[in-house]
C-alpha cells in the first residue's frame, strides 16, 4: 500500500465514521443551513407547478454512473426522487431527461417508485424518464423540445453537464420558466454563472438533497463536508508553512 492509497483509505473511513455518527446524533435535532435563494425559488416554482397543473422538467446531465462523474448523476437521481415526491399532488408527473442509458433507466425506476408510492400502485407512464441523446449536444438538442412542447413551468438542470448547459438554460429562459442549474463541471459552472438566473456553484450540487429535506443523512453530509474542508485547509496551510521554513 502506498502513501496515497493509505491517505485515501483514511479519508474514506473518517468520512464514513463522521457521516454515521452525525446522522445518528442529529436525528432528533435540527441543523440550520445557510439560505440559498435558488432552493427557495425552486420551492415556489414547485408550488406554482402543482397549482397551475404544469410540469417540472428535471434534466440529469449526460454523465454515466461508471464514469468519474457518477457522483453528480447519483445526486441528480436523489433530487429527482425528492422532486417527484414533492409534485405528486400535481396533475402532471415530472419528466426527466438524460444523456446516458443507465441514468435514463434509473430515472424511470425512480419516477415509477415515486408515482406508485403516491398512487398506491397506479399505472406509470414509462416515457416519464427519457434518453434524449448520446452526445452532449444531441442530448441538449433532444431536451430542448421538452421545455417548449410539454407545458413545463420549471426546469431543474442538475448533474454532469458540459458547455451545452448554456443552450438548455437559454431555451428555459425563452419559455419564461424558472431554471435552477447545477453541474460538477468547471467550464459549465462558468457558463451557468453567466447564463442562468439561479446557478449553484461547486459542491452546492451535492447539497440539493439537504435543502429539499431528503433525510437526516443529507443534512449530516453538509456537516461532514464542512469538517473535511476545514481539515484540508489546515493541512494545506500547515504544508505551506512547513515548506516555507524548509522542513518539507
Amino acid at each position: 500500500m502506498n502513501l496515497t492509497t493509505i491517505a485515501g483509505l483514511f479519508l474514506v473511513l473518517v468520512s464514513a465514521g463522521l457521516l454515521v455518527g452525525i446522522t445518528y446524533l442529529k436525528r432528533r435535532s435540527t441543523i440550520h443551513v445557510r439560505q440559498i435563494k435558488a432552493f427557495s425559488r425552486l420551492r415556489n416554482a414547485i408550488g406554482r407547478a402543482v397549482e397551475d397543473g404544469t410540469r417540472l422538467h428535471i434534466s440529469l446531465g449526460h454523465g454515466g454512473l461508471t464514469a468519474p462523474q457518477g457522483a453528480a448523476s447519483l445526486a441528480s437521481l436523489v433530487t429527482l426522487r425528492r422532486l417527484a415526491d414533492m409534485t405528486s399532488a400535481g396533475d402532471k408527473p415530472p419528466v426527466a431527461s438524460s444523456g446516458d442509458g443507465v441514468v435514463a433507466i434509473l430515472s424511470q425506476d425512480t419516477l415509477q417508485a415515486s408515482y406508485q408510492d403516491a398512487t398506491a400502485g397506479g399505472h406509470y407512464d414509462a416515457t416519464g424518464g427519457r434518453l434524449t441523446g448520446l452526445t452532449p449536444f444531441s442530448y441538449a438538442a433532444g431536451a430542448i423540445p421538452i421545455m417548449h412542447d410539454e407545458q413545463v413551468s420549471a426546469n431543474v438542470l442538475i448533474g454532469n453537464f458540459g458547455v451545452e448547459a448554456g443552450l438548455l438554460v437559454d431555451a428555459g429562459e425563452r419559455e419564461d420558466s424558472f431554471t435552477l442549474t447545477a453541474s460538477d463541471n468547471l467550464p459549465a459552472q462558468a457558463i451557468l454563472y453567466a447564463n442562468a438566473q439561479d446557478p449553484l456553484i461547486g459542491e452546492e450540487l451535492f447539497a440539493a438533497g439537504a435543502y429539499l429535506n431528503a433525510g437526516p443523512a443529507h443534512t449530516a453530509s453538509l456537516v461532514v463536508q464542512d469538517i473535511l474542508r476545514w481539515l484540508l485547509i489546515i493541512i494545506i496551510l500547515g504544508g505551506s508553512l512547513l515548506k516555507m521554513v524548509g522542513l518539507l
Binding site: 500500500m1 492509497t5 474514506v12 468520512s15 464514513a16 457521516l19 454515521v20 454512473l65 461508471t66 457518477g70 457522483a71 447519483l74 437521481l77 436523489v78 426522487r81 446516458d100 442509458g101 443507465v102 435514463a104 433507466i105 424511470q108 425506476d109 417508485a113 408510492d117 414509462a126 416515457t127 427519457r130 434518453l131 434524449t132 448520446l134 452526445t135 449536444f137 444531441s138 441538449a140 423540445p145 417548449h148 412542447d149 458547455v163 451545452e164 448554456g166 443552450l167 437559454d170 460538477d184 457558463i191 454563472y193 447564463n195 456553484i201 461547486g202 459542491e203 450540487l205 451535492f206 438533497g209 431528503a214 433525510g215 443523512a217 453530509s221 461532514v224 463536508q225 474542508r229 484540508l232
Partner: protein
C-alpha cells in the same frame, strides 16, 4: 413483495459497492479479481442500458408522431435517421466509409453549429449578466473575462503592454487556477459523501425508498 424487492436491491447495491471499494484499497488478489469482474459486469450492463435507452427514445418519438403532437415532424426525421444509421452500421460495420461519412458530414457539422449558437448565446448572456445580477461578483466575472480575452486575442492595434504576458497569466494561472482548485476540492468532498450515502443505503437511486 415491493419491500422485499427493495431490500434485495439495497443488499446487492451495498455489497457490490463495498467489494469494489475494498478491492481498490486492499491489495489481496481475491478482492482485486472480484473488483475487476464486477466492474466488467457494470460495463456490459451499461451497454445493455444504452440499447434500452434507445428503445425508450424510439417509444417517446413514435408516440409523438402517432398523436400528431407539436414538432412531430422532427420526431419522424429522428426515427428515420436512427433506423437508417442503425441498419447501415449493422450491415456495413462501424468502420465503413458510408457510416463514417454520416458522422463527419451530418453529426459533426450539426454539433459544431450548436457550439456556434452557444457562443452567440453566451455573448448575449454576458451582456445581460450585469442587468440581471448587479453585484461585485458579477463585475469581477465580467472584468476577468474581458482581461483574459483581450490578453489572448490578436488586436488590430497590436498587443496592450504587459496584458498578454503578465496580467492575463496572473489572472488565469494564479487567481482562476486557485479558485478552480477550491471548487474542485468542494466537488470532490461532495462526491465522496454522496458515494458513502449510497454505500450505506441512505440514498437508493434504484427505485426503492
Amino acid at each position: 413483495m415491493k419491500n422485499f424487492r427493495g431490500i434485495v436491491s439495497a443488499v446487492i447495491a451495498i455489497s457490490t459497492g463495498i467489494l469494489v471499494l475494498v478491492g481498490y484499497f486492499i491489495e489481496i488478489p481475491i478482492f482485486i479479481n472480484l473488483r475487476g469482474i464486477l466492474l466488467g459486469w457494470a460495463v456490459i450492463l451499461a451497454a445493455a442500458a444504452l440499447f434500452v435507452g434507445i428503445i425508450n427514445m424510439l417509444m417517446v418519438h413514435s408516440a409523438k408522431v402517432r398523436m400528431k403532437q407539436q414538432g412531430s415532424i422532427y420526431s419522424l426525421v429522428l426515427i428515420i435517421s436512427l433506423v437508417i444509421t442503425l441498419a447501415l452500421g449493422l450491415v456495413l460495420g462501424t468502420e465503413h466509409q458510408i457510416v463514417n461519412l454520416i458522422f463527419t458530414s451530418i453529426q459533426l457539422p450539426v454539433e459544431a453549429t450548436l457550439l456556434g449558437l452557444l457562443a452567440i448565446s453566451l455573448a448575449y448572456a454576458s451582456i445581460r449578466l450585469l442587468r440581471r445580477r448587479m453585484n461585485l461578483l458579477s463585475i469581477i466575472f465580467i472584468v476577468t473575462a474581458l482581461i483574459v480575452l483581450l490578453g489572448t486575442v490578436p488586436l488590430p492595434f497590436g498587443e496592450i503592454p504587459s496584458l498578454g504576458d503578465t496580467i492575463r497569466p496572473f489572472f488565469s494561472q494564479v487567481l482562476a487556477a486557485g479558485g478552480a482548485r477550491g471548487i474542485l476540492i468542494g466537488v470532490a468532498l461532495g462526491a465522496l459523501v454522496t458515494g458513502l450515502r449510497v454505500l450505506f443505503g441512505a440514498d437508493r437511486p434504484y427505485g426503492s425508498k
